[in-house]
Amino acid sequence: MNCRRAQAALSERMDGEHLSSRLAGAVDTHLARCSRCSAFVRDAERLRAAVRITPAMAVPDLVEPIMAAVAREAHARPAPERPRLAPVRTLRRPPPLLPRLGPAAAGLLAGAVVGSFLVGGPWHRPVGEAPIALADVTRGVVAAASGLDAYRARFSVVERNFDPRVRFRELTLNVWFRAPERFRMDVSDHTSYPSRDWTPNDLSLVVNRSRWSLDGPTACPAGIHSCPEARTVVLNRAPFSSATPVQTDLMVPFGTIAGGQRIRLLGQTRVLGRPAVELELPFQRATPLFPFLRVGGQWRPFFAADRVVLSLDAATWFPLRFEVFPSPSEARDQWELRFGLPDEASDEPVLTVDALEVATRVPPAGTFAIPATGHAQDEAAHPVALDELPKGFAGPDQLDGLDAYRAARTHVAERAGAEQTVVTYAQGLTWVKVAETHDWERNEPYGSVDRHAEEVEVPGGGVAYYEPASEDLGRRLAIHTEEGELYVETNLSRERLLEIVAALGVEAAPLPEAWRVRKAGDGVAVRVSLEEALGEVDFPILLPADGLPAGYVLASIEVVRLGRQSGLNAYFSQRDTELGAQPIRLHLEAAGELSPAPAAKQSAVEVRGREGRWIPDRSQLEWIEDGVYVSLDAEGIPLEELLLVAVSLAPAGVQQEGTP
């Protein structure tokens, strides 16, 4: 060991890098004998002290000037151009990929689609004239998802207002799937751009078990149209990795539809000559349907409240058409200005995806090939043979009707050295992931489950902690047991998840006491039951009786203590899916008056016969009621809905809990 190497290693160790035990030993032996290296460490530590003992730098509050500059920028963007005759494109609706068809030709196209459907199978719904309910759609879609082993489809995509110079873009979307984890999605751009410098939006995403790849133009600043192509490859991908997922909703939208919140059944119709059901939902709730917008390339922006109309084949539940319509609101008009978009009419779709061909045909060999390249990222999931699994919670072959598929050993996030075993089960598009670890040291639920998660009873005994599906993760449970920590995640329903956990036969214990406590600012918050909370705070506890938005349930309660002051937080979360709507937090504490205004933008609102305050940037409604400060906040929930929650608040009594 020479001084240069020793000092390099010492420098790394100071920065928290882990040295192998061999290197650490050699460095320490060298350090003990070397005065130069000892001096290096001493000086480096003095330097660190000099930096860290320096009083914290006073930081000016620049929020106002920054936001003013941002607002100026938004307004200064060139006003949308009025339509004028462009040399390249017509400004009306463009010729679609397939020429607009007359009735006879349309029949032929419908025939082509019908011809390529291989209908039947356990999910097949006989198509009749009987009225259909949203619950029928949900059930049908879930059944279709479990039964889908192979899929092949081609869609046309038309996007409006990508750029003032490119009013319409025409693309083709090709999708291939082979259960459980082979997926490919190619976007080919057929748009005529103003010049050759514009990079076409050609994308290719391939998932093939432990490998993943994405080819497409790299992100480049707005206004620049020549973006270099890039290729990303991920190796040692974890089974059903949430970082590199299979985009299942494009084939059968069961993630989007499960739970049914904020989805409206418009009725039965015919699309492309096939009987179809038409559903309507907000864009933010429909993002899983549009994976191509998220994975890469350049796309126009969409407004969260835009209206998505989705037509599903009434027999197979495959999406036949989905369109995004601008929402008619003032907020959207402002948003259009900000993004330099023209005034978009609410009855003209800004994105239309139409099925041209759908089949349950096995894709040809080679479709999912991912060539090895020099620049690969490593997801570091090391495969474990299913018959070599350590004895644990997960069963060997089958779990509640799903077949054992793939297992891996991975690191527990953010903890070097700690390992977890992940075993996955699959059927069609559906999957279950069971992870366990014996290395968990944090005082909070294991896995991607928040400490405010809802406590649910596991059939067969015990309690576990539940979170609804989000954009990136499935429905999931953290389970604490005497032997170790368990995490179960699935894209199946909440009920199926609980059945699956029951099938694992674990003895689920409540969270240990230490896990119920967290630091909250200068105070301490402790998770308690409603009954405990009633005994601990000296103000009446108000809870919403029936005013919660659809799908919300009380997830958890915590008592917050700061000196002799105490307060209470109650968290309400979605039962099934939290796409586009966040948990609601209710905060109560004894107080005589509202604190001074925390934000510039606020308005006075009448709440329960008192004057309250609405702070839109925080989605927070607050008021004082009989000596109690009450605050309700939830991102993404409009004032009207929070007011309904407020109106329904009523004092909670012990009799409310646990009794039928």
């Binding site: 509050d61 620049l62 992100a219 993004f339």
Partner: protein, 174 residues
């Protein structure tokens, strides 16, 4: 440095000014501190902070989560800092005057001088890792270097800065 709530980030990307304001509140101190140390000029650092957030707003639609959001933002800050320093240098050449940089009074003078006496190549990784507490990977993302390069520059920065600090203190004691 903490990550923003992905929901806030998504809303900011969708053009929600409230969400973008949340990001400004969350990161303005780090951006300002980094700009301050880079330029050793508080007034300039304020301008850089504003410019960095404005550019972030402009290009937020292109942020795809390939690095952490904080790394992306500090990379923009660094670019703004470089632009500002270059502009100031040009200004000096044009006007042949040297505006006195308003040195930060809260930073120990010796450390300030020591930081001023080493090259950017050493100062930048040191600021990111030692002062802002970032990881090698984050510093590498911001400086667009390999992690190995950041490690070795950090090592050399420690040697150069220790030496400069000792020199400063010895001069100060005379």
């Amino acid at each position: 440095m903490q990550d923003p709530d992905p929901r806030t980030l998504a809303r900011a990307r969708d053009g929600d000014p409230g969400a973008f304001e949340d990001l400004v509140r969350l990161y303005q101190a780090d951006v300002y501190r980094f700009a301050c140390y880079l330029t050793r000029d508080r007034t300039l650092a304020e301008d850089i902070t504003q410019e960095a957030f404005l550019r972030a707003f402009r290009f937020l639609g292109t942020f795809r989560g390939e690095s952490r959001f904080s790394s992306w933002l500090l990379r923009i800050t660094r670019n703004c800092g470089m632009d500002a320093l270059r502009a100031r240098q040009r200004g000096m050449e044009d006007r042949h005057t040297v505006p006195a940089p308003a040195a930060d009074p809260t930073v120990r003078a010796e450390l300030d001088h020591a930081l001023g006496s080493v090259t950017d190549e050493h100062r930048e990784p040191f600021l990111l890792i030692e002062v802002l507490g970032l990881s090698y990977q984050e510093a590498a993302d911001i400086l667009q270097l390999k992690v190995g390069t950041v490690k070795s520059r950090m090592h050399r920065a420690r040697i150069a800065l220790s030496r400069a600090l000792i020199d400063e203190e010895e001069t100060g004691e005379l």
